[in-house]
């Protein structure tokens, strides 16, 4: 019996690794871009890599080296990082609400890997897939590709021709689109909610910082949606 459950955990983990493969196409080029920025800002090879190994948050790291290059204070950089990452409270709540039965240690380890991307893949997967080993599989690939990208960029600044690296900018957006489309296809009201959210967030971006706009539009629109979107027919996401 024990063997069977162990095997199924391994299978869930491998499934997570497989589902995270599109992240590689997004994370390696962005990791390279971050590392190039960091080296230009005066970070050593070691510092550039340690930041990716310990922080593991692409947008924050790019913002931080940008601010550092611009002469911002350490306190301002840490504060801006905190604000930018507050959205992970929401994402982490969604992820761990599905993983309540996992051990505390497992959850604390998995928490390190909550990113926009791991959250996106995990929460749009079928209900039976949403397990701790599956999530750890997602994290393994994301963490590895982010750090491999960082290392490549830190070692050499122009491995990719300009046109190629510029074209990879679309990768993570394309992934988000690919992840939500199955749910939208099956549920018109959900599609309306998503379009509404897009409009709200775009408008908010004219008035407030984008990190706050994202949090506010995510929460308010989900709250509105809770009153008119019917999730039962969508049968636990595609």
């Amino acid at each position: 019996m024990k063997k069977v459950s162990k095997n199924s955990r391994v299978a869930q983990y491998i499934n997570g690794v497989r589902c995270a493969l599109p992240v590689i196409l997004g994370f390696i080029p962005v990791g390279i871009a971050y590392a190039i920025m960091a080296r230009h800002a005066g970070f050593s090879l070691g510092e550039t890599c340690i930041m990716s190994l310990t922080v593991f948050a692409g947008a924050s790291e790019m913002m931080a080296v940008g601010m550092y290059a611009g002469g911002a204070s350490i306190i301002a950089i840490i504060l801006a990082t905190f604000i930018l990452n507050l959205r992970h409270v929401i994402m982490s709540t969604c992820v761990f609400n599905e993983m309540k039965s996992a051990k505390l240690g497992t959850r604390m380890l998995a928490a390190f890997g909550v990113t926009d991307e791991s959250f996106a893949i995990f929460t749009t997967s079928e209900k039976e897939k949403r397990t701790a080993p599956f999530f750890v599989g997602l994290i393994t690939v994301s963490y590895a590709s982010w750090n491999v990208g960082t290392l490549i960029g830190a070692l050499s600044s122009d491995i990719l021709p300009e046109i190629v690296s510029a074209s990879f900018g679309i990768a993570l957006y394309a992934m988000f689109i690919g992840l939500i489309m199955p749910g939208l296809r099956a549920n018109l009201r959900l599609a309306v909610l998503v379009i509404f959210t897009a409009a709200v967030n775009t408008i908010l971006n004219f008035f407030i910082a984008s990190s706050w706009a994202l949090i506010i539009s995510t929460l308010i629109c989900a709250a509105i949606g809770a009153f008119f979107v019917d999730l039962s027919e969508e049968s636990e996401a595609q």
């Binding site: 931080a64 959205r87 609400n97 510029a166 394309a174 199955p182 539009s217």
Partner: protein, 104 residues
């Protein structure tokens, strides 16, 4: 090693991990109402929509059509029930093609 940069990295690691780990630790203490559960299940969709828009328009800040074209390619293939990986590769391929014509 630059002392200032190391201090900055430690601070950033802390303020990044804290928002991620708090829900992981305290989630088992909460029992949510069905309405709140539904709210949580909608968040992936609203969050991803907000991550896509308006960011998609500034994939290339000088050429908004780069993001739009790649996004449409991915959306069409996703609509045709293609795997996510195929959507991503198509988005990249379309943008690469456009750059090949208009330059970067």
């Amino acid at each position: 090693m630059n002392y200032e940069i190391m201090l900055m990295i430690i601070g950033m690691a802390a303020v990044t991990y804290i928002p991620r780990v708090l829900p992981a630790v305290f989630i088992s203490k909460f029992k949510f109402s069905p309405k709140f559960e539904k709210f949580l299940r909608l968040i992936p969709y609203t969050a991803m929509s907000a991550l896509i828009f308006p960011g998609l328009f500034s994939v290339d800040s000088d050429k908004p059509y780069i993001g739009i074209a790649g996004g449409i390619a991915a959306a069409l293939l996703a609509w045709k029930k293609m795997p996510v990986m195929v959507c991503v590769i198509a988005g990249i391929a379309v943008d690469m093609l456009i750059y090949a014509f208009v330059g970067h």
